[in-house]
């Protein structure tokens, strides 16, 4: 398989077929908590992507050095280091996003997607594939957050990226609240399962 094809496969699996949020059901807390608006979702998604790429790179580089028994602790220290970096960078350069995301920036440490990729991919693969795996999974996470954030911002506050959409119509403010987050994600995952099911059904028909 040529390199270009492999990279395309990485992106297809990270963003669509193995989407970390919609298919693998990982990283629920940041997904629900930070998607009250589209811009917060993008901020969270890109911060997590940055941490994911860096930790995948470093863990892949160190995969022969880290002893098997304490690998999880080692991964967590590496991830926490990069999260601290992101925390300081956001505080210095993107203060409004830093304030909106609040405690959920340090909580990227316990985002299961990052630890899952470290354990199941970066610790077994070379540096370059690990980089692309981190990038594609991170983009998949960002993609899911963007959909959720856009739906909740449009319905919940009647705006998109801060621009008013509906004039004087009162928004469904419940969608911006926690209950709306659970509801929107429930319907999104149901839609994802529906599509997976239909695709599988189609494939079986073709086999017969």
């Amino acid at each position: 398989m040529s390199d270009k094809m492999r990279i395309r496969d990485f992106f297809k699996s990270g963003v669509i077929t193995d989407n970390p949020v919609l298919i693998q059901l990982l990283g629920m807390c940041p997904t629900l908590a930070t998607t009250t608006t589209l811009i917060n979702g993008i901020g969270m998604g890109l911060s997590a992507t940055f941490v994911l790429i860096c930790s995948n790179l470093l863990i892949s580089l160190l995969r022969k050095i880290i002893p098997q028994k304490i690998r999880i602790a080692a991964y967590i220290v590496i991830i926490a280091g990069f999260v601290t970096l992101v925390d300081m960078l956001l505080e210095a350069y993107f203060n409004s996003i830093y304030n909106a995301l609040g405690v959920f920036i340090p909580l990227i440490v316990v985002n299961c997607i990052i630890l899952a990729r470290a354990e199941s991919f970066a610790s077994k693969n070379k540096v370059l594939p690990s980089f692309f795996d981190g990038l594609s999974m991170g983009l998949g996470f960002t993609f899911a957050l963007c959909i959720l954030g856009a739906i909740r911002e449009i319905l919940g506050s009647g705006t998109i990226l801060g621009f008013a959409l509906f004039g004087g119509v009162a928004p469904l403010s419940i969608m911006a609240q926690p209950a709306g987050g659970f509801l929107t994600l429930g319907f999104l995952i149901a839609a994802a399962q529906f599509m997976v099911e239909r695709k599988r059904g189609g494939a079986e028909d073709a086999d017969n």
Binding site: G81, V110, A179, G186, F187, Q193
Partner: protein, 198 residues
């Protein structure tokens, strides 16, 4: 908040358990909330394990922050320091449970090590420090928050068990989506507590 009497403690408890319930209004600790809520007794066990770890880790992280990080100007290391403390504590509790209460150990199974990555535990330790709570208030805050977590996961597990018995769920909604929608309805309910003024 620094003068403590029975009234403020009760107000604090109602606030942490109901009005600002950690799962249903702040979205922390969603993984165990959805993962371990299929049966009510494992849900309760999980709640108690989380309560124990949360109380313990808030005490330990409070002193680590005050006695080590602040004197040496290392506040920016709090995330790394706290997550290591929590991971070590979870490991200790796991070993203790395996020796002392094997039944609970088996029931919690894979979810015990996962408390390490339960964002509620780290989240509470971080907010305690950020809000500048003193020792007693941090301790109370984490205990009440954990009780709120236990209450939410227990109610949720009861609803899910009942739904498994009587409801026919459309195929795409089976499993996780319907759990999320159930949580949404529960969250609507807890939203009502916002009207309480203390």
């Amino acid at each position: 908040m620094q003068t403590i009497n029975l009234g403020t403690i009760i107000a604090f408890a109602i606030n942490a358990i109901l009005i600002e319930n950690i799962v249903l209004t702040q979205f922390m600790g969603c993984c165990p909330f959805f993962g371990v809520s299929k049966k009510s007794d494992t849900a309760l066990g999980m709640g108690m394990a989380v309560t124990f770890i949360m109380a313990l880790s808030s005490v330990v992280t409070h002193w680590i922050y005050q006695l080590i990080l602040v004197p040496f100007d290392l506040e920016y290391l709090q995330t790394i320091a706290f997550i290591l403390v929590i991971a070590a504590l979870v490991q200790l509790v796991e070993m203790a449970l395996r020796k002392l209460v094997p039944a609970l150990y088996n029931a919690l199974g894979i979810y015990l090590p996962l408390i390490t990555t339960n964002c509620a535990v780290l989240g509470i330790c971080l907010t305690n420090v950020q809000d500048g709570y003193n020792f007693l208030v941090s301790f109370l805050n984490s205990v009440f928050t954990a009780i709120g977590f236990t209450l939410a996961i227990w109610i949720f597990s009861l609803v899910r068990m009942r739904m498994d018995e009587v409801c026919e769920v459309p195929k795409p909604f089976q499993g996780f989506p319907i759990a999320l929608i159930t949580a949404a309805v529960l969250s609507f309910g807890f939203l009502g507590f916002n009207g309480l003024s203390l």
